[in-house]
């Protein structure tokens, strides 16, 4: 206490002198606004601290950005969403689809010198399966066991053919060092908050909570040596401050997606460059099909006709959004997209007519959303105002995030407004979202015909085989309005023109802060 006060006093006295001479010599922010980038350090702005360093648990964006640089995955995704090698070099299914094999590269090492082997992969996937936590647990229900055939080969035994398995495990599962994590009584509860043993392109060397996270290049790094020596994540309160700092030259890149209006504003700044990456998810409204009168498909269709989709995309998202034709197979999934479906038209008259047919009058519903989500907070009132034209009253319930999640989990809502971040694999994702009892089946859809089609799609071992049943399933979802897809956002990421060579990947999570991109980036000369 006393030392603190003395410190404060000293600081304040010195401050007075600083006040009289405003231009303090020396340090003027990282890099300074005019100096060219040297390749020594890339500073990334983020709006949150790392909450959990355990990559198997952490799920906030900042958590993932930092841990993705520390822990390898089996595969990565290219710009088109296709899986490409990372720790894994090849992967395949057996003929009957009940075994999957993955071959690993042999030149990756943990930062304590031990090699990264098949044992680490088996350990990670088995821990997740045993303790059932994180995203991956819901995606590997078909797995019976995983075993290391050799230090560079893993064999997964599946209980049923599942063509989504390798895509899911490869992309989502972070590989952690067995010899470190196995010492914890529970892998899920392992904080992993110091003395990190990592194997990604960068290692975390210093943490100043509330301020910054400093990561150093790993040399040598098998999959490809990064150019930049040091990556720093700096914490800001919101995008507004990040933009000021970027324009001031204090950071080189804003990790967070820019709000559409900010993107429109920064587009013409000659010192900045905007990179556009498509979303792998979509923004949507879901109608609780277990609540009257929304159990009636005509009412759901009436609601779908009472949304001004164009206005939401053009005004709330400033045009940085694509129509998905009201289909869950969005343009981000070119392999699956079905050109024959079309978007519900904004047509209040039709909406009224449908309600009349359903015998519903004075429809009044409430809509929940996360008030902290800037896009949704912006278009939620637009949904309300458009519905009013069709004689439907929608009461907004912009909730604090935890309350919102709670209500969502308990399915305690009439209309749910939200967005899904990554729906990278239609057969797997449709299963979670629309199959009876699915983990994120918020609309409480229970349609045997739909369930059957999705199962069929999941059993298929290739995309070609999965396409037909999945398209048919998506058509049912469209016609029954089990999901009302509003748009697929085009994310804008801003960086300083002092840097070049980023490798954009779809989704907010990967964008240009994915490991491949940060390994490839270099100073523009």
């Amino acid at each position: 206490m006393r030392r603190g006060f003395l410190l404060a006093a000293a600081a304040a006295i010195a401050l007075l002198t600083a006040c009289s001479t405003p231009s303090v010599p020396g340090s003027t922010g990282q890099g300074g606004s005019q100096a060219p980038a040297t390749g020594d350090r890339l500073t990334i702005g983020t709006t949150a601290d790392v909450v959990n360093y355990n990559p198997l648990v952490g799920n906030s964006r900042t958590d993932s950005w930092v841990t993705n640089l520390m822990y390898p995955h089996l595969t990565q995704m290219d710009e088109a969403g296709k899986r490409i090698p990372y720790l894994a070099t090849e992967w395949s299914y057996s003929k009957d689809g009940k075994t999957a094999t993955v071959k690993l590269r042999d030149d990756m090492k943990w930062s304590d010198g031990k090699p990264v082997t098949a044992d680490d992969v088996v350990f990670a996937v088995t821990a997740v399966q045993k303790e059932k936590f994180g995203v991956v647990a819901g995606l590997i229900t078909a797995m019976e066991k995983a075993e290391a055939v050799s230090p560079t080969e893993v064999k997964f035994t599946l209980s049923r053919p599942d063509g989504t398995f390798l895509d899911n495990v490869g992309f989502w599962l972070p590989i952690v060092p067995k010899h470190v994590f196995e010492k914890a009584p529970s892998v899920q509860k392992f904080a992993n908050d110091a003395n990190w043993v990592s194997a990604g392109p960068y290692k975390l060397t210093k943490v100043e909570r509330g301020q910054r996270y400093i990561m150093e290049r790993v040399e040598p790094f098998g999959p490809g040596q990064p150019t930049v020596k040091e990556i720093v994540f700096r914490v800001f309160p919101d995008v507004n401050t990040e933009v000021l700092a970027l324009r001031n030259g204090e950071i080189d890149l804003i990790g967070n997606v820019l709000p559409p209006s900010t993107a429109a504003d920064l587009k013409n700044d000659p010192k900045l460059k905007l990179v556009q990456v498509p979303s792998l998810g979509w923004a949507h409204l879901q109608y609780n099909t277990k609540r009257k009168p929304m159990d009636d498909v005509r009412v759901r269709q009436a609601l779908a006709h009472a949304v001004d989709y164009e206005a939401i995309r053009n005004i709330a998202l400033k045009g940085y959004a694509k129509s998905a034709n009201s289909s869950v197979l969005t343009p981000s999934q070119p392999d699956y997209a079905d050109p024959s479906v079309s978007e519900y038209a904004f047509d209040p008259a039709k909406s009224k007519q449908l309600l009349q047919e359903a015998g519903v009058t004075n429809l009044s519903l409430s809509m929940i959303y996360d008030q902290a989500d800037p896009n949704i907070a912006r278009w939620a009132p637009m949904v309300r105002d458009a519905a009013k034209q069709a004689g439907i009253e929608i009461k907004l319930q912009g909730l604090e995030r935890n309350t919102y999640l709670d209500k969502t989990l308990k399915r305690d809502f009439d209309i749910y407004a939200g967005s899904w971040a990554i729906m990278d694999n239609p057969p797997a994702n449709l299963g979670l979202a629309f199959k009876t009892g699915g983990f994120i089946n918020y609309a409480q859809v229970s349609d045997p015909k739909l369930d059957k089609l999705i199962d069929e799609g999941q059993r298929a071992l290739t995309r070609e085989e999965a396409k037909a049943p999945i398209q048919e399933a998506a058509k049912i979802i469209h016609d029954q309005v089990y999901d009302n897809v509003l748009y697929v956002e085009t994310f804008n990421i801003a960086h300083s023109i002092k840097w070049t060579g980023f490798k954009p990947m779809p989704s907010e999570l990967l964008s240009i802060v994915n490991p491949l991109s940060l390994a490839a980036v270099k100073p523009a000369s």
């Binding site: 507004n240 209006s261 504003d265 005004i315 008030q371 907070a377 604090e400």
Partner: protein, 284 residues
């Protein structure tokens, strides 16, 4: 200063002194104007809703305060925001005053309650107010009612302290003892003697607590804990922040900020002027 006419009642004297203070008068006029705006909002501007193509337009003849990110008129938002901000401020303040008055007078009149209540007030004053407000507002869910209750809940101790000390000065007065002797009930004495005695202090308190409540409301709304269905000045700022345009579209932040400043400033000046007018030592 000219000699004060002696046959005026204290209230008249205060009023005469108050009228000589141009700042006080101006503040009163501004507050009155804000109150009129709040009451007549529907006559001044349509309720801000819907959306338009003219997004982020700077102030112009058509949109005096410019437009926001979905093309709504910021002027209309500020006008309707006056209503909510003042309503929240006033109701929170009234609620806080009622609690503070009861606690303060009880502490002054019933001597046995004085120590526990005094300690309670002191302890409550030592709680970190804003963080607690954030906590309660976040967990109780955003609505105008929540804001009012939360703000009042953490504002009453200040009032109670002021009321107590001024009531303490009245309790030993001969007319109170006299009332006790002739067997007046406690409630009657409090109503007849104590409440009128503390009214001037409470008057100042209402004004100051309201301005503090307006600031608190703005702070909570700014942090995203406001009511999404209504417009307050803090909500406008919050939406501007969410749109990422705090610095570029300066009109979306400047006008609500000015509105807050105007209200808080005029309430403070009004209370200063009123205190000056009442306190003749500093006036002469």
């Amino acid at each position: 200063m000219t000699a004060v006419v002696t046959d005026l009642t204290p209230r008249q004297r205060t009023w005469t002194a108050f009228r000589r203070n141009p700042l006080g008068l101006a503040s009163a006029a501004i507050l009155l104007a804000l109150a009129v705006i709040a009451l007549c909002a529907p006559l001044i501007a349509p309720f801000p809703e819907g959306y338009g193509e003219d997004t982020f337009q700077p102030p112009s003849a058509e949109h005096w305060f410019g437009t926001d990110d979905i093309g709504q008129d910021v002027f209309a938002q500020v006008i309707w925001g006056t209503r909510v901000s003042m309503a929240v401020g006033l109701s929170a303040s009234v609620l806080a005053i009622v609690i503070g008055l009861v606690v303060g007078i009880c502490a002054a009149y019933f001597r046995r309650l004085d120590t526990p209540l005094g300690v309670l007030v002191d302890l409550s004053l030592s709680l970190p107010v804003l963080p607690l407000m954030i906590l309660v507002a976040a967990l109780a869910g955003p609505s105008v009612r929540t804001l009012v209750v939360v703000i009042a809940l953490f504002s009453w101790p200040e009032v109670a302290r002021v009321v107590r000390s001024s009531a303490m000065a009245i309790v030993p007065m001969p007319f109170v003892s006299a009332a006790k002797v002739i067997g007046g009930s406690a409630f009657w004495i409090v109503r007849k003697h104590l409440v009128p005695g503390v009214v001037p202090v409470v008057g100042v308190s209402v004004v100051l607590t309201t301005s503090r409540a307006v600031l608190a409301e703005a702070g909570l709304s700014f942090l995203g804990l406001g009511d999404p269905n209504s417009w307050s000045w803090g909500t406008i700022l919050h939406k501007a922040q969410q749109s990422g345009a705090l610095a570029s579209a300066w009109w979306t932040t400047l006008f609500p900020s000015l509105a807050i400043l105007l209200l808080v400033l005029s309430t403070t000046l009004l209370s200063v002027a009123y205190n000056d007018a009442r306190n003749h030592r500093s006036a002469s």
